[in-house]
């Protein structure tokens, strides 16, 4: 696969994970351009960092597990940085306005209820990811870029 094709696949999977939809051409082209432009900041810096990125590229569900793990144990890893890069591009693109900006119509109780089950899901995903990834991270001995943070 060429680098561009690889980045396009990555962009599609990450976009499905973040906002449940395939990205348009503009988002794809911008993402490829951004990763090239910010290569130094977005490339993995350790074997564990590379592993996280590889796993996250497999499927949106795995992206989510890797992301939740990285948020707590590798906050400045390549995967987090790439996801943030894509998020920044998506939020600049007017065609995505609704997905990022329209609140649910559920009101405060609905929001709190929704958050309860989302938090539960987050805990489950984090636990699974920790079971698998934490030993690997400990064995490879080095955190992906950045110190863990709460």
């Amino acid at each position: 696969m060429t680098e561009r094709a690889e980045l396009l696949t990555e962009c599609r999977i990450f976009s499905r994970y973040l906002v449940d939809t395939d990205p348009g051409n503009y988002v794809c082209d911008s993402y490829v351009a951004a990763v090239r432009q910010l290569r130094e900041s977005l490339s993995p810096t350790s074997s564990f960092d590379r592993l996280l990125l590889r796993l996250a590229r497999l499927h949106p569900l795995i992206t989510r597990s890797v992301d939740v793990y990285a948020r707590f144990f590798a906050p400045a890893s390549s995967i987090r940085r790439r996801l943030i890069t894509l998020l920044a591009i998506i939020e600049s693109d007017g065609t995505m306005l609704d997905r990022l900006e329209r609140p649910d119509q559920a009101g405060l109780p609905g929001f709190i209820g929704g958050m309860l089950w989302r938090s539960l899901l987050l805990v489950v995903l984090l636990s699974i990811a920790m079971l698998i990834l934490l030993p690997v991270q400990l064995v490879t001995g080095r955190p992906a870029r950045g110190r863990p943070q709460a």
């Binding site: 911008s30 989510r64 948020r71 998020l87 990022l100 929001f111």
Partner: protein, 536 residues
């Protein structure tokens, strides 16, 4: 016709120049003067920029994506947006080293205030105690500047702290969240004022709520953060343009002044400046010289001039800046509402906190979150990004931040000096700041008090989110060549005339002997106009 040479086109320089021109002087201005690109689609609103431009990310994030705030790379929530990056371009001749201080310089046409958030707060008599004049002496200049630049605001509960000068335009339309906070304050006014010493009112901003000449009133396009494309927000380059229409004004852009030189009589004779295009150093002959390079820039030029003249490395004492805290808050009453992109984006409310003495006043600015980029906020949630996006969609309209400002005093251990090195072409500016005794305790008490106030307003502060900004971040620099009635070395007179060099004036914050907990720039402009009125 008498000639005055001014260095610097920031708020201090241009308001000095404007006032001097009106008194019939010929004014020459030496300036680095980096210029911006023309505004993009000036008629488009924020959302139209996103939907209408071919490359909206290029506009919002920069063509090199430099506006993306990556995890682990940024201590502050937001940086300067790419459209204002020109105002942060530096020059090769200014090298700095600092301890406990993060200095910011701008060499833009218009200076640092080309990036500002336009807050304009006059100092009152208590805050001017250390100055050799009182509010009444400054009031006509506040009014004149306000009439020239356009300031909106209101005589409300903050009037006890913020004198109400002439020339105020009516306030801007409030966004929904700010309106809700103001209503809550109204319903709890007595408790907040009497028990918590808290007064809330409208912010004062150099933003037009009414058309003024060619400048149009704010039309709530929501693009403030990236630079107002229709000049409703005042920037000093507008006054520079006004000066340039005068036949008696000459602008020498593209020059970095390294030092001035003097004759045997101690009078300044010439300014030496490096052309940005790399040509020969140019000498500008001088009759009267006015330094307006910003407090730090002026101090550097002053120190280097003395060094080149005498070989002595002086130490300037009394460097000041406002310590700032950022206190983010969430207002559950706004959860689930759509945020308002079509509104003015910077702070619309101000909070005044009384202190033990009037000088201890703490000044807070309340900004509700609207079109600022979301990714730096979402990234900090203790959540995966997908959940973070969901949360943000629902609480976006409920988020805000209080920017808390503390006063500062001149202290001998806060210094500026030069490191001349060995054989270095240009000496390095060395800044050293020592926080005042008891600062941590003052910060803690204020945060506690602010949390109580926010609770009364129906909001809460998420745990662990209060951020103490590094010293230097407020960019309200002052105090290094202060006004002094006694003619001491390295001070200026009440008219801001140097006690060391008789034909040298200083028109920026370097001359301020005290820094109240307020944005400084309105007073810089008024004082610069006052200095121009005193010059003979």
């Amino acid at each position: 016709m008498k000639r005055i040479t001014v260095i610097g086109s920031g708020p201090s320089g241009v308001h000095f120049a404007r006032a001097a021109l009106s008194r019939g002087y010929a004014v020459e201005m030496i300036d680095v003067g980096y210029a911006p690109s023309p505004p993009v689609s000036p008629d488009a609103t924020f959302n139209e920029i996103k939907t209408g431009l071919d490359d909206p990310a290029g506009y919002l994030l920069g063509t090199a994506f430099e506006g993306i705030l990556l995890p682990g790379e940024q201590e502050e929530f937001y940086g300067v947006p790419p459209s204002k990056a020109y105002a942060q371009r530096q020059v090769p001749w200014l090298q700095t080293r600092s301890r406990n201080f993060a200095p910011m310089f701008s060499f833009a046409r218009g200076g640092l205030a080309e990036m500002w958030t336009a807050g304009c707060y006059p100092f009152n008599d208590a805050e001017l105690t250390a100055y050799p004049f009182d509010y009444a002496a400054l009031a006509p200049y506040y009014a004149d500047v306000a009439g020239n630049i356009g300031i909106n605001g209101e005589a409300d509960d903050l009037a006890g702290f913020l004198p109400v000068h002439d020339g105020l335009q009516e306030p801007l339309r409030l966004d929904e969240h700010s309106a809700l906070l103001l209503n809550r304050y109204a319903s709890k006014r007595e408790y907040l004022q009497q028990i918590l010493g808290c007064h809330v009112g409208r912010a004062r901003q150099a933003v037009l709520s009414r058309d003024m000449g060619e400048r149009k009133a704010c039309r709530y396009s929501g693009r403030c953060i990236w630079g107002c494309p229709t000049d409703s927000i005042y920037t000093p380059s507008l006054t520079l343009d006004e000066c340039m229409r005068s036949a008696h004004f000459t602008y020498h852009g593209g020059y970095y002044a390294t030092h001035f030189s003097c004759g045997d009589d101690g009078q300044v004779r010439a300014v030496c400046a490096q052309p940005l295009d790399g040509g020969e150093v140019r000498e500008f002959p001088v009759d009267t010289l006015v330094l307006a390079c910003g407090a730090l820039g002026t101090s550097k030029l002053y120190l280097e001039s003395v060094y080149r003249q005498t070989g002595e490395v002086k130490v300037l004492r009394g460097l000041m800046d406002n310590r700032q805290l950022l206190v983010p808050f969430l207002n559950p009453g706004m959860i689930g509402r759509q945020y308002q992109a079509d509104s003015y984006q910077y702070n619309q409310l101000a909070i005044g906190l009384t202190g033990d003495t009037p000088e201890d006043y703490v000044h807070c600015l309340v900004t509700t979150l609207k079109t600022a980029m979301q990714h730096p906020v979402i990234e900090r949630f203790p959540l995966d990004l997908r959940t973070g996006i969901h949360v943000m969609r629902n609480i976006h309209a409920a988020l805000g931040v209080v920017n808390v400002n503390f006063h500062d005093t001149r202290r001998d251990d806060c210094t500026l000096t030069l490191d001349v090195g060995e054989g270095a072409d240009s000496p390095q500016l060395v800044l050293d700041y020592v926080p005042p005794a008891g600062e941590q305790e003052r910060i803690k008490q204020t945060v506690r008090r602010l949390k109580k106030i926010l609770r009364q307003l129906g909001c809460f502060v998420p745990p662990g989110m209060v951020h103490t900004r590094p010293m230097g971040a407020s960019v309200h620099y002052a105090g290094t060549l202060p006004m002094s009635v006694e003619p001491r070395p390295m001070t200026v007179s009440a008219e801001c005339r140097s006690h060391d060099f008789p034909n040298l004036y200083i028109a920026d914050g370097a001359t301020f002997p005290f820094l109240p907990a307020k944005n400084i720039t309105f007073t810089l402009m008024a004082n610069a106009a006052r200095v121009a009125a005193c010059i003979d």
